[in-house]
Amino acid sequence: MAAGLAVDSLVRKRGGFVLGPVSLRLEPGRALGLLGANGAGKTTLLAGIAGQGRLHNGAAAWNGRPVVRNDWRLREQVAFVRDVPALYGELTVAQTLSFVGRIYRTWQPARAAAMLELLRLDAKQRVSTLSRGMKAKLGLLLAVSHDVELLLLDEVTAGVDADTRAEIQRLVRTLRHERGVAAILSSHIFEDIEHTCDDVLILRSGLPVFLGPLDDSRAASLRDLYFSFGGQ
C-alpha cells in the first residue's frame, strides 16, 4: 500500500470548466503549495481530493484507499478547510467544538483545548461575532483536533491579518513535523507557500504547468517561478 496521497490523471468538470489531467504524489509530513489565478482550478482540485465531488476521470487515493465521492469515513483522515469556513453563527465556540467533537471518532478534547488557547479564541464567544481571521483559526482548529493525516487548506489565509497568517503557517509546520500530517495549501500569497511548503504546483486554466520543489533552480524566487509560467 502506497503511503501518502497519489493522484493519477485526475480530471474534474464543472460547467464548462475542465480541470486536469493532474497527477501528483505527496508523502506524509510533506506540504504542497497550490498556486494559480482565480478560476485556475485550485478549489476544484482540492474538493476532488477531499471526495467532495465527482472525479470524471483518473483517480486519487490516500494511503492506498481510493477517494470516492462522498466517502464520509475518509473524512476521519482527510480534512478540507475552505477559505471562509462555513460555521453555525448562532453557536458559541464551545458549542461548535462540542458538536464537531461528538462527530469525530478520534477527537482529542485536550488537544482542542490546547489549540483554543494557542490560537487565542474565546470559548464563550458566539461564532457570528468572530472576525474573518478568527473564523479561519476556528475552522483550522476543528480540522486538526482529531487524528487528521491529510490537510487540504483552500486559501485559508485570504483576507486575514499578518499575525493570523503567521500563526496558521506555524501551525501547519508544527503539524507536519510533529504529527507527520501531509498538507496541500492553496493560496495567492507566495510567502505563505514559501514558509510552509516543500513543493509547488502551479495551475493555469485547469492545467498543471509546473510541479516541483520550491527551491527549483529555474527561478530565483517563487514569485519569479510563478510569473515565468505566465502568472498574472
Binding site: 467532495q52 465531488g53 478540507f80 469556513p85 462555513a86 458549542q95 469525530y104
Partner: protein
Amino acid sequence: MRQLFALVKKDWLLHWRSVALFCVGFIALAHALTWLLPPLPQPALPLPPAVTMPVALSFVITCVTWLVERERSRETFALLRALPVSELHIVGSKYLAYVLMQLAGLAFVLVTTPVRAYLSPIQVATTFMGILAFASLCLAAQLSFTHRKAAVAPVVLLLVVAVGAARLGRSQAIVSEVVSRWRQPWLHVSLWAVCAAVTLACLMAAYLRVRSQDTQDLIG
C-alpha cells in the same frame, strides 16, 4: 448513532427558539381569529380544524425550511460534508429534528388547546402521522430542489389535496362516509401504514438525491 445525536442536538440548539415563538404565535393567532371571526355554526369548536390544520401544515413547511434552507443559504452543508457524517446521517438527523419539533408542538397544542375534546387519542395519532408524512415530503422537496422550487413543491401538493378535498366535501354523502370511517379504529391502522410508507419513500428519495450531489450542488 453518535453522529446522528450530535446533528439532531445541533439542529435543536439552532432552532428551538423559533419553534417556541411559532407555538406562542399560533396560540395568539388562534385567539385573535376566534375573537375576530363571526361565531361558528353549532356545535361550535374553540379551535376548528379549518384553523388548526392550515396552521399545522404551515408549521411543517416553516420548520423544514428552517432545517434545510439555513444550511444551504449559509453554506453550512459544506461543513457537514467536510465532517465524517454520511448522507443517511444528514437526512435522518433532519427528519428526527423535525419529529422533535412536532412533538414539542403537539405537547404545546395538547396543553393549551381543547384538541382532546374533539379528537380521540387514536385520531390524534393519525393526524400526527399524517403531518409527519407531509413533513417527510417537504424534506424530500427541500433537499431535492433549491430556492423557490423547494418551497413551492409541497405547497403545490397541498393545494391539489385541498382542492380535491373541497370538491369531495360538496357531497353530503361523501362527508358522512368519511366522518363515519374516521371513527373506526381499523381505518386508522391502515392510515398509519400508508403514512409510514410515504415517509420511508420520501426519506429514501431525499437520501438518494443528496448522495448524488456534489457539495457545491448541495449548497445550490
